[in-house]
C-alpha cells in the first residue's frame, strides 16, 4: 500500500486527532469537585437531637476526561459543580484518606461521644451508642458531621432542645477532636449553599482562621464563610465556633 505526498499528510492529520485529544484528555491533572447536597436530621443517626448535619457531593477527578464527564452529569441535572486544582501533597493526602477509609469517621464519632459527656459513667451505653451511630452513618462518608453529632448527643443526654420546639433550624459542619476542638473540613462553600437552600436559620462553622494555615493551603473555613456572608448575604446566621463548649454556649443563648 503506497501513499502519495498528499495522502501522507492527510493520514498524519487524521492520526494526530486521536493522539492530541488523548494527550489533552488523559493527561494526569487532579482536581477536587464539590456540589451541593442535603441537610440531614441528627435523628437519622439514631441520636435524639434536633440539629442537622450537612453532606455534600464531591470527589476527585484524575484527568480532563473525568472532569468533563462529571461536569456533564451535573449539567444534565442543571446543578452547579465547583472544581479546585489539587497540589501533589493534597493528592497524596487524599489517597491516604481513601486508604484509611472510615477511620476518621470512627475517630470523630468516638470523640463526639467522649466530649459530649454522653453516659459518662456507663461504658456499655457509650459502646452501644457508638455502634448504633456507626451503623446508621454507613452511607455517609467523611468526618465533617463530628460537631453536630456531639451537639445532638448533648441534646439527647440533657433533654435540651436547641431548636426551641422547631423555631430554629440549626445545622453545621466541622470535625470533633479529642479535646473538644472543632476541626476544619472540605467544601465549606457548598455546605453553606446547601444549608441556605434548605432553610437553615443558624449554621455553625469551624473557627479556624488562626490555625488553618498550619495544616492546609488557601482560605480557612472561617474566611470562606466570611466571604460567603459578604458576597451572598444569606438569610441564615453563620456562627464560627472553636470548640463544642463555645457552640453549646451560643445555642443555649438563643431566645
Amino acid at each position: 500500500m503506497k501513499f502519495n505526498k498528499k495522502e501522507k499528510w492527510v493520514l498524519a492529520g487524521l492520526l494526530a486527532i486521536p493522539t492530541v485529544l488523548t494527550l489533552l484528555l488523559a493527561y494526569p491533572r487532579y482536581e477536587s469537585f464539590y456540589a451541593t447536597g442535603e441537610i440531614v436530621s441528627i435523628q437519622k443517626l439514631g441520636i435524639d437531637g434536633n440539629v442537622y448535619f450537612t453532606y455534600i457531593e464531591g470527589g476527585v477527578t484524575a484527568n480532563n476526561l473525568e472532569k468533563i464527564l462529571v461536569q456533564m452529569d451535573y449539567w444534565a441535572e442543571e446543578r452547579d459543580v465547583r472544581f479546585r486544582p489539587m497540589s501533589e501533597e493534597e493528592v497524596e493526602l487524599d489517597d491516604e484518606a481513601e486508604e484509611i477509609g472510615d477511620d476518621y469517621k470512627e475517630m470523630v464519632v468516638s470523640n463526639a461521644i467522649e466530649v459530649s459527656g454522653y453516659s459518662v459513667n456507663q461504658e456499655d451505653s457509650q459502646d452501644e451508642k457508638y455502634a448504633s451511630i456507626m451503623d446508621q452513618a454507613a452511607e455517609y462518608h467523611g468526618d465533617s458531621f463530628g460537631l453536630m453529632v456531639a451537639i445532638g448527643l448533648v441534646e439527647e443526654e440533657t433533654g435540651e432542645d436547641f431548636s426551641r420546639g422547631g423555631k430554629y433550624m440549626i445545622a453545621g459542619t466541622g470535625t470533633m477532636e479529642f479535646d473538644g476542638t472543632v476541626g476544619s473540613i472540605d467544601g465549606i462553600q457548598e455546605k453553606l449553599l446547601t444549608a441556605e437552600e434548605q432553610g437553615v436559620t443558624h449554621f455553625l462553622v469551624p473557627k479556624d482562621k488562626e490555625v488553618y494555615s498550619f495544616f492546609y493551603d488557601g482560605l480557612s473555613n472561617q474566611e470562606e464563610a466570611e466571604q460567603y456572608q459578604l458576597t451572598v448575604n444569606p438569610k441564615m446566621k453563620i456562627v464560627p465556633v472553636e470548640t463544642l463548649d463555645e457552640a453549646l454556649v451560643y445555642l443555649a443563648s438563643l431566645p
Partner: protein, 222 residues
Amino acid sequence: MQEKVDAWGKYLFVFLIVGLASSGVSLLFSLVEAWNEPFYMEFVIDLDIAVGIFTSIAAIIATILFLGWIYRVHKEYKEISPDYPVTPGGALCRILIPFYNIVGLWTIYSNMSRFLIQYDTSVKKHGKRLRAFIPYYYFSHMIYSFLNRRLLMEEEYSINLLLLTVGMEVIVSLSYIAMFVAITSGLKAVREHQQQLQLEQEAATAAEEAGAASGEESEAGV
C-alpha cells in the same frame, strides 16, 4: 473516482490496523487487571485510560472513514454496472438505520458477493471469499455490540465481562480487516476485468477499422 475510493480505503486500512493494535493492548491491560489488580491500579490504570480514550476517538474516525469509503465503493459499482442492486445512499441507510441494519448489514455484502460471483472465475473467487467472510463479520460485530452495550449499562463492574468484551473487540477488529481486504480485492478484480473488456473492445474496434481499411485498399486495387 477510483483514486478517491483508494485514498479513503488506505486511510481506513491504517485506522483498522490501529484499532486492532489498540484493542490488543487493551486486552493485555485487562488481563493484567484480572491477574493482579493492585499492580494494575498502581502502574497500569493511567496508561489503560489513555489507550481507552485513543481507541474510542480512533474508532469514531474509523467509522466516518468506513461510511465515506463504503459510499464511494457503492458509487463505483453503480458506475460500473447500473444494475448493481444497492445505491450508495441505500448502503449508508442499511448501516445507519437502527433495526433495519440488523438485516441491512448482511444484505450489503451478500449483494456485493452475488454481484462479483456473476463474473468470470478471476472475479468470482473474490465474490466467494467475500461471501464466506460475511457470517464471521456479521456475528462478531453483533456479539461485540451486544457485549459493549451490556458493559456500559452494567451497574456492577465485572472483570469477566470486560475481558469477554475486549477479547471480542480483538476478534471483531480482525474480521473488519478481513472484510476490508475481501471488498478491496473484489473491487480491484472488477476494475481489472473492466479494463480487460475495454482493451478487448479497443482491439476489436482497431481490428475492424484495420479490416475496413484493407478492404478499401483491395477494392481500389481491382
